[in-house]
């Protein structure tokens, strides 16, 4: 028995019966396994379809439905009369979302062919793609005609990541004229998206404000995006629209700006590097705030291409800087009416005079008048309209610096104003305390001498100049305003006696209409007079250049502050002409702008003639320059890295703080500033019949050009 059992172990005894038996058992096992797996499948399916039903329903829905945001139409920026300064125009556009592209190179090449993009545009597109962050859409082209738009639209299924859209794009009708005032828009950068996680920022076609008003009022202008729910296939083809929610356009913002004056002022600057500010000197409404040269905000909205960068950085006139707010300049003689006011306030009789023999000896030093031949006997009025330096040297010694600095601040110099702007450089009104604080040095006589002629440490921006002119004109604490719908508060008075103001007004009127320094600033109207004050600010010492010719960077700044009508001031205008070579470059601009305000046709005629000489309007010249650049450089312009780009923008935005080296002596005013450019008027101007009669006959008609 034992034996046979061992044999069985070695070689199992197999018969038909045992095999049949084992088949039956094993087939039952097989059936069991099959049934088990069937149960497993059934329970798995129940789990998926019942217990996870909600989750998968949601996922199927999010597969099927594509929610696309419709970028909201940006709010318009209107001028005071309702003319759009920034509007939107209907637009066909193409964007790409880099992370959704499958074969980026091929897709871009195909788009380039379909849209017939120039090599320069292709290069800029490639630059933008290199800098892009995947999820954020990159603009390929805007302003397309229907034909090219449809050429891309029909091929969308073959080009994943490409988005075509009929939308709206920002439009600035006057282009470069409003560049610095309004700013521009552009696709949101990664940093902007980081700060503000509004999904509309990464919607193809949406642009955020990048500068100035567009940036300040971004939230108001943005509006609410609309949404479109569409059913899409896996490849992204839209099957049908499910529903659409319209976008809510952004708020319209009405500015105090007058579109016509703004455009005129900007264009009138011509080839100069200058800033013009026009204000309503009764309300403080800023009517124009132009800084040229500028950029065309229309062409910036698709990003700043290499060629545009090259153009901007090659231009020594710094087109990226808003000179109205960021430019700081020594005000030169434009401070003289203000200084004279402070003298009167301190009790000086305006008729008290001093003899100007071309200089003033103080101790063992001589401070020169700009007119080395001297002005003879000079009272306050003559000191202003002939811009006699000696008069101010002399009486400033007596009055002292502090009342002058106080008056300067009362009139708005050195002040920062509450305005919706991205930055203001407020400059310096020097006084002894300031100097002690900054340099730990005592105030010196020559410091006073320098300050009274707007040199030395004195630095102002063109907006302050305009505010100063407005306050001088109205005698009120005029605050500049940019937004139109603020309610009007009664502007408080400066507290300056009206007779003081009247005296100054008359003297300033004589600058242009009397025996003053700028007879050619007179308005071409018999009944409207302009009152103003010229200024020439030295940039380099006389040992380097005479300020008139030579290197552009070494030429004097030209200033002119003015208001009109002289008797009943309504408009104030300040012009700063950077390195214009003296006030002769500045006052014609102010004169023509004021001419335009009172008679548009007359103003335009003057401008049209001038623009013929300059080679077109600001926009036309900018476009011509771009064409010349693209012909010259093509795709050869160097790439601008993101760091370099931001560095350059910062550089331009940072206040142009002229170095303020410690001044160790009196600055000699530039001699005979306009002798070469301004011919003598034919005859002495008849004295004004003003009550104070500040037009002494001592005026030397042959010598009308000086400003310093």
């Amino acid at each position: 028995m034992k034996f046979s059992f061992r044999r069985l172990l070695r070689q199992p005894h197999v018969t038909t019966g045992t095999l049949r038996n084992s088949f039956d058992r094993r087939s039952v096992v097989m059936t069991g396994i099959q049934g088990g797996i069937g149960l497993l499948l059934a329970s798995r399916m129940t789990y998926l379809a019942v217990f996870e039903n909600e989750k998968y329903k949601l996922e199927a829905e999010s597969n099927r439905v594509n929610l696309s945001l419709i970028p909201p139409r940006r709010g318009w920026l209107l001028d005071r009369n309702g003319t759009p300064l920034a509007s939107n125009r209907a637009d066909f556009r193409v964007d790409v979302v880099p992370e959704q592209m499958q074969d980026a190179e091929r897709t871009i090449a195909q788009l380039g062919r379909l849209l017939s993009l120039t090599p320069i545009a292709m290069q800029d597109l490639q630059d933008k793609l290199d800098k892009s962050h995947g999820f954020a859409p990159v603009e390929v082209a805007t302003g397309l005609d229907l034909e090219r738009f449809s050429a891309v639209s029909v091929r969308l299924p073959d080009m994943p990541g490409v988005v075509t859209q009929r939308g709206f794009s920002r439009f600035y009708p006057t282009g470069p004229s409003v560049g610095h005032l309004i700013g521009y828009v552009g696709a949101a950068s990664a940093e902007e998206y980081e700060k503000d996680h509004d999904p509309v920022l990464i919607t193809p076609g949406y642009k955020v404000g990048k500068d100035a008003l567009e940036k300040i009022f971004e939230k108001d202008l943005r509006g609410k995006p609309g949404a479109r729910r569409v059913e899409v296939t896996a490849s992204g083809r839209i099957v049908r629209n499910l529903d659409t929610r319209e976008d809510v356009p952004g708020k319209t913002i009405k500015l105090t700006i007058d579109a016509g004056i703004q455009d005129y002022a900007a264009r009138r600057i011509g080839p100069e590097s200058a800033a013009v500010v026009v204000m309503d000197c009764q309300t403080g409404d800023v009517l124009a705030m132009a800084s040229m040269p500028s950029y065309d905000p229309n062409s910036f909205s698709d990003g700043i291409g290499r060629l545009e960068w090259k153009m901007l950085s090659d231009d020594d006139h710094v087109p990226l800087r808003n000179k109205v707010l960021r430019g700081l300049y020594p005000p030169g003689s434009t401070v003289k009416p203000m200084v004279a006011l402070s003298f009167m306030e301190a009790g000086l009789d305006p008729n008290e005079s001093v003899f100007c023999g071309g200089g003033l000896r103080v101790g063992n030093r001589v401070f020169h008048c700009w007119n080395r031949r001297g002005h003879g006997q000079v009272n306050m009025a003559k000191g202003i309209y002939q811009s006699c330096d000696v008069y101010f040297y002399h009486f400033a010694q007596r009055i002292g610096m502090d009342p002058i600095a106080l008056m300067a601040r009362r009139l708005g110099l050195g002040q920062e104003f509450e305005l919706p702007v991205v930055g203001q450089s407020y400059g310096t009104v020097p006084d002894p305390a300031w100097k002690l604080r900054k340099y730990h040095k005592e105030w010196q006589t020559f410091d006073t001498v320098n300050a009274t002629i707007g040199q030395g440490y004195f630095l102002v921006n063109p907006l302050q100049q305009a505010v100063q002119a407005s306050r001088l004109a109205s005698g009120k604490i005029i605050m500049p305003r940019l937004i139109h719908d603020q309610e009007h508060k009664e502007t408080p008075s400066l507290g300056i006696p009206p007779e003081h103001l009247a005296y100054i007004h008359q003297a300033m009127s004589d600058v242009a209409n009397g025996p003053g320094s700028a007879p050619h600033a007179r308005l071409p109207f018999p009944d409207i007079k302009l009152a103003g004050k010229t200024g020439t600010a030295q940039v380099v010492g006389l040992n380097i250049g005479n300020g008139k010719g030579g290197q552009w960077k070494h030429r004097d700044h030209g200033h002119f502050i003015s208001f009109a009508p002289a008797e009943n001031p309504r408009y104030a205008c300040a012009v700063v002409c950077e390195h214009g070579g003296g006030s002769g470059s500045a006052y014609p601009i102010a004169r023509d702008v004021l001419t335009y305000i009172f008679d548009k046709q007359k103003g335009m005629d003057i401008l049209t003639d001038l623009e013929k000489k300059w080679g077109g309007t600001a926009k036309e010249r900018l476009d011509a320059r771009y064409r010349a650049y693209s012909a010259q450089y093509g795709v050869g312009a160097p790439a601008v890295s993101s760091e370099e780009e931001s560095r350059k923008v910062q550089e331009a935005e940072a206040a142009q703080e002229p170095r303020q080296p410690i001044v160790s002596g009196a600055q000699s005013p530039a001699p005979e500033p306009e002798a070469a450019t301004i011919p003598a008027p034919p005859a002495p101007v008849a004295p004004q019949s003003a009550p104070q009669g500040p037009t002494p006959g001592a005026a030397r008609p042959g010598n009308t050009g000086g400003t310093q």
Binding site: Q11, P12, H13, V14, T15, T16, T18, L19, R20, S22, F23, D24, R26, S27, M30, T31, Q34, G35, I37, G38, L40, L41, A42, R44, M45, T46, L48, A49, V50, E52, N53, K55, Y56, K57, E59, A60, E61, N63, R64, E231, V232, T233, A234, S235, V239
Partner: protein, 370 residues
């Protein structure tokens, strides 16, 4: 009973299995109709026509005699093996992998035909093997060679899914043939050891990737995990009663890959829900249960092994496909019998079915004279 009314040729068909099967094919046709965007073309009509043709073929097969099957076993196996080699040669000449043989009027995939053929040849082998040798090396080695040869040829095509199916059919037949249990246990153990090694050395990159993705489909939802994820979404979003006929978004908007072939079950579930899914499972349970019962009732070793092996082959299709669409198995290109659109798989399954029907007929011929 009703023999006087219904002709015997019809009444003798296994209607208890055939009627649910026809219902399943009809459901399949409906799903294919919907998958085509609501049209008989290109899937639904050809699906039904093929089924009808192959059903006739199955009935013809079922009328063949047991001796014909016995005699044909080795020649058929040899011929199909030859075709496999031929395919391999043509592929080598043409460059790249080739699975199809173009016969002019249709393209033939010999590896598919190998699935029933391996069962047939093994059933024949174990019938002729002296019973006493079943547990010896003589019961193992020749059978192993019979399986390994075609499996290798299919594997180098490369078609892991079909190779596995061939092995599965063969091994199940061996198991049912009564080979000692511990052989299977130790082979299974060895497989557990070898599988990870093979995974990292033998598999192609795309195959390895499929397995990895199966283990974690969400890791790469837009890449290779896409199939599994979308399939689960389709099944899960269907709920109990489904989204309704023609309303499946996953399939209609092309989120579901291969909605008419490998993922036809997901397409069905989305529109017919859990109810539809249970119906499909039930029909397969009926068909496969019928197949196993036919095998158990079979009088002799050849017929029982044949029927059980064929059932196992069909079962393998169903199991792998359903596990795949439900995210329980990696993505392998195995269609769902009777529902997926595709001629070759329908042919294979109908050959299996016809063979089981033949065994059923032999059973009736012997047992119930009444």
């Amino acid at each position: 009973m009703s023999r006087s009314i219904v002709p015997e040729a019809i009444s003798r068909q296994p209607w208890l299995m055939l009627i649910p099967l026809c219902a399943l094919v009809s459901l399949g046709a409906a799903v294919l109709y919907s998958a085509a965007g609501g049209g008989l073309q290109p899937y639904a009509l050809s699906h039904v026509i093929r089924f009808c043709i192959f059903l006739v073929m199955a009935i013809v097969i079922s009328h063949m005699s047991r001796n014909l099957f016995r005699m044909a076993a080795y020649p058929v196996f040899g011929a199909i093996l030859g075709l496999l080699v031929l395919v391999e040669l043509i592929g080598a000449v043409g460059g790249g992998s080739q699975r199809w043989l173009n016969l002019g009027f249709m393209s033939l995939q010999p590896s598919e035909l190998m699935k029933p053929a391996i069962v047939l040849v093994l059933a024949r082998f174990y019938e002729t093997l002296p019973h006493a040798m079943t547990a010896s090396w003589r019961g193992l080695v020749p059978a192993g060679v019979l399986i390994a040869l075609p499996a290798l040829f299919v594997l180098i095509q490369p078609d892991l899914g079909t190779a596995t199916a061939v092995c599965f059919g063969g091994v199940v037949t061996m198991f049912l043939a009564g080979l000692p249990l511990w052989w299977f246990v130790s082979a299974g153990g060895a497989l557990l050891v070898i599988a990870p090694i093979a995974f990292f050395t033998l598999l192609h990159d795309y195959q390895r990737n499929r397995v990895l993705v199966f283990l974690d489909p969400e890791a790469d939802p837009l890449g290779t995990g896409y199939h599994i994820t979308q399939s689960k979404i389709a099944i899960g979003s269907g709920g109990i009663f489904g989204k309704g006929f023609g309303n499946g978004t996953q399939s209609h908007l092309q989120y579901l890959p291969e909605p008419h072939t490998d993922f036809v079950f997901a397409t069905m579930s989305e529109e017919w829900g859990l109810v539809g899914g249970f119906f499909v499972l039930l029909v397969f349970a009926i068909v496969l249960g019928w197949g196993m019962s036919v095998a158990r009732r079979a009088p002799d070793r050849f017929s029982s092994l044949l029927a059980a092996g064929m059932t196992a082959t069909m079962f393998f299709y169903v199991m792998i496909n359903l596990m795949m669409v439900m995210g329980l198995a990696p993505v392998v290109g195995i269609p769902l019998p009777f529902m997926s659109h595709g001629g070759t798989s329908m042919l294979t399954n109908m050959i299996c079915l016809g063979t089981i029907m033949a065994v059923n007929r032999w059973n009736q011929g012997r047992g119930s004279l009444a």
